[in-house]
Symmetry: C2
Subunit: 442 residues, 2 copies
């Protein structure tokens, strides 16, 4: 008997839900990912400021599906699609062998997105993002090293540049990063240095449009702005970044002359660019691809002409039954609902049952700013302050994979709250780590 | 008024105790270290197998001495000593500026040691050690990648090489590493793979002499051997490593012909070599330096002719009042007692009081093998099994710096014990981390 083979690409929120929903079905599931763990991306920014350790927000994929005997995990990179022959072509990751291709009956693609440097990829070196675990750890070393360098730097101008932190992008990640750096500077570090006063640190949050958190109602943007200012963050609205290098950032305010700001730590949290798998799928199927690289999928999340191929999450836009195209927010709940939906369609088809178009149930929108401060927009209920923050806390603990991780993170947060401390403040040397790992990476 | 300036080199166990004992004195203390954290080295091997996260066994030095206002932390590398002018010459670490030199009235040197490749430093690439946090993370990626590679490798011979783990050195670290890999293969991973049976993993523990744990009584060595065999480890006693490369290790049993063992994961835990500061101090003062690079210090831990310079920990041997030289074990309690002793001598001198020679109070010796299994040699009381293991557990939790870390580690351990799981099993890419960190490292 031929068992229906489902291949799922990506162990993020969407892929994980799809696999989860298929784990009791009579199908063979292969989950393909470049990394051996699921990353709880909404909290990587906390790794970047030493509030959490990497192991606390990442969980091995094999452990998650340990008891799902119809699921296998394959560590590999996607090289290309052969949609006509229903084959996925693969590349090995580091030294780990991978088959050249695998065949599927159904393919579910959840490749995610990354930040976009608006055509200036060369900025990424001076202004890394905090979306992957590796880059978050690199940013952690940078932020902590900047305070160390300021402590040791006798020249006041250079010291000021070390104490200037520029966060680019006023979305949830940018707001959270700026808030976290402010808390680090004002609450965690003050008594730890002898020469500098870490509270003198200047934290800039640079946003091109006229308000922060544009996915929230304007009144909550205003609340977030005030909270950030209260924490000592300097929001720079209607300001476009026109140049970035390792010594600073050049900003152009709307209508004003451009200004050069010396800053040794720059963090990028602007723009979105879909996984390049999206563009490739557009090429292969003729589906529309937008400026952010997202491919348009049918109302049932499949690709035009390929009902056996689903694509979902923040690498797609969804065509409505009336033909218009819907861009859903690039947040975990969208990917999770879409992952579950795709799995349900597969199950329905195997039973010969019909299925309805995907419908997104918006449960609300949350963003945290700092200790006791967040904004929440839940079904027209607008919350801010402590209540929103507690909601944020509970929701994030709830969705964190792994019971043990929930407890560890809860304890870290309780300690941070009580002591203003941050336990995982290590400046590690990835080059030394790479050296120890190297032969295996060949 | 001139305040007595004490410079302490090294934020390990010895240096930390010295600074701690001086924190309420009328002295200025500068603690110099290359890294911004204290590492609880006895547990780094648990990071190498994913049982603990780095942040749980490392603690920022500045946080430790936050409230000690006479203590400053300086991130720098020691370049050289100018003993005549009482100056310490420094090199900057990465991008963090450092003064070229600092002056001292008293210098306390606690530079530690590293593993020795017996003149074959080229082996270090194929056989990394697990003493530093970075190398432990590299080893973690290697061990986990080896199982992944075995899962994906169709060729049975190559697969066997991926499933062979060779640990070189039968001291406490080697025994602990071999035991941990065995537990990983037998308890944690079995249900996570679909092609391989991780229990088929071969774990070799290669030791040149005829028993393991030579610092323990022979009966406990025997107990440790049996426990390891029970876990599935293959101890190879009286076997010398004569060659190492990334595809295997060549071993020469006493009296027998050499044997080539294909193994893709080799971990080095043999030999000890003192920090090269020890040899330099020998050169400068004429003090004896032994084959392991340790310098001999006077009965009060000072260098000959330089009563203002202390050296301690596993980079020194101590001259007895009768002229003989004592090699103390390279363990944390020795360094801690010596660090406290040096601080007490400084305090006594400032009061014009005499001080007695250093005396090591041996509280016992502990090594763990695996779940519920350890050996303890405490004042002629020889323990093994669960009681020794509980002792080991409590002692290590007790000495772990940071109340929060104690709780986090306790929880991780409780979970591992209950579920056989290991939460921090991430294959991370240090190259990507390095890229994100790079500009700051210039």
């Amino acid at each position: 008997m031929h068992v229906h083979r489902v291949v799922v690409i990506g162990g993020g929120f969407g892929g994980l839900q799809a696999v989860h929903k298929l784990r009791h079905e009579l199908v063979d599931v292969t989950l393909v990912d470049r990394q051996n763990f699921h990353l709880f991306q909404p909290l990587t920014y906390q790794v970047a400021t030493g509030a959490l350790s990497p192991g606390e927000i990442a969980y091995p994929l094999r452990t998650i599906f340990k008891r799902a005997h119809n699921v296998r995990v394959l560590l590999a990179e996607v090289a290309d699609f052969d949609l006509d022959h229903r084959e996925l072509q693969l590349h090995p990751v580091a030294s780990i062998p991978a088959p050249e291709s695998i065949a599927y009956d159904t393919l579910i693609i959840a490749g995610g997105s990354h930040y976009s440097y608006f055509g200036h990829d060369e900025w990424s070196e001076a202004a890394p993002e905090v979306k992957s675990l590796e880059s978050a750890l690199g940013v952690r070393s940078r932020i902590l090293s900047a305070f160390e360098a300021a402590e040791a730097e006798p020249d006041p101008e250079r010291r000021a540049a070390w104490l200037t932190f520029a966060v680019v992008g006023g979305g949830p990640t940018g707001v959270e990063m700026a808030g976290q750096i402010a808390e680090l500077a004002r609450d965690t570090l003050p008594h730890e240095f002898r020469t500098i006063d870490s509270r003198m640190g200047r934290i800039l949050l640079i946003e091109a449009v006229d308000r922060l958190l544009t996915s929230f109602p304007p009144s909550l943007s205003e609340k977030a702005l005030e909270s950030l200012q209260g924490l000592g963050v300097t929001p720079m609205l209607r300001s476009t970044v026109v140049d970035v290098d390792e010594h600073g950032v050049t900003v152009e305010p709307a209508g004003g002359p451009s200004e050069r700001i010396p800053a040794r730590t720059i963090i990028w949290a602007a723009g979105v660019e879909a996984s390049n798998m999206a563009a490739r799928l557009g090429e292969l199927t003729g589906a529309e691809v937008d400026r952010a690289g997202r491919v348009s999928v049918e109302p049932d999340l499949t690709l035009p002409g390929h009902p056996e191929v689903f694509a979902l999450g923040d690498m797609v836009r969804v065509r409505r039954p009336d033909g218009s195209v819907l861009t859903l927010p690039g947040v975990a709940p969208v990917a999770m609902q879409q992952g579950r939906y795709a799995a349900e369609v597969v199950r329905a088809r195997l039973r010969g049952a019909p299925s309805r178009p995907f419908h997104y149930l918006d449960k609300g929108n949350l963003a945290t700013i700092g200790r006791g401060s967040a904004v929440a927009d839940i079904k027209r209920l607008e919350l801010s302050g402590v209540i929103a923050w507690l909601t944020w806390l509970l929701v994030h603990l709830w969705y964190l994979v792994g019971f043990q991780n929930r407890i560890l993170v809860f304890i870290r947060w309780s300690f941070s709250f009580a002591t203003h401390g941050r336990g995982a403040r290590l400046i590690t040397d990835p080059a030394a780590e790479a050296a120890a790992r190297e032969p295996a990476a060949r």
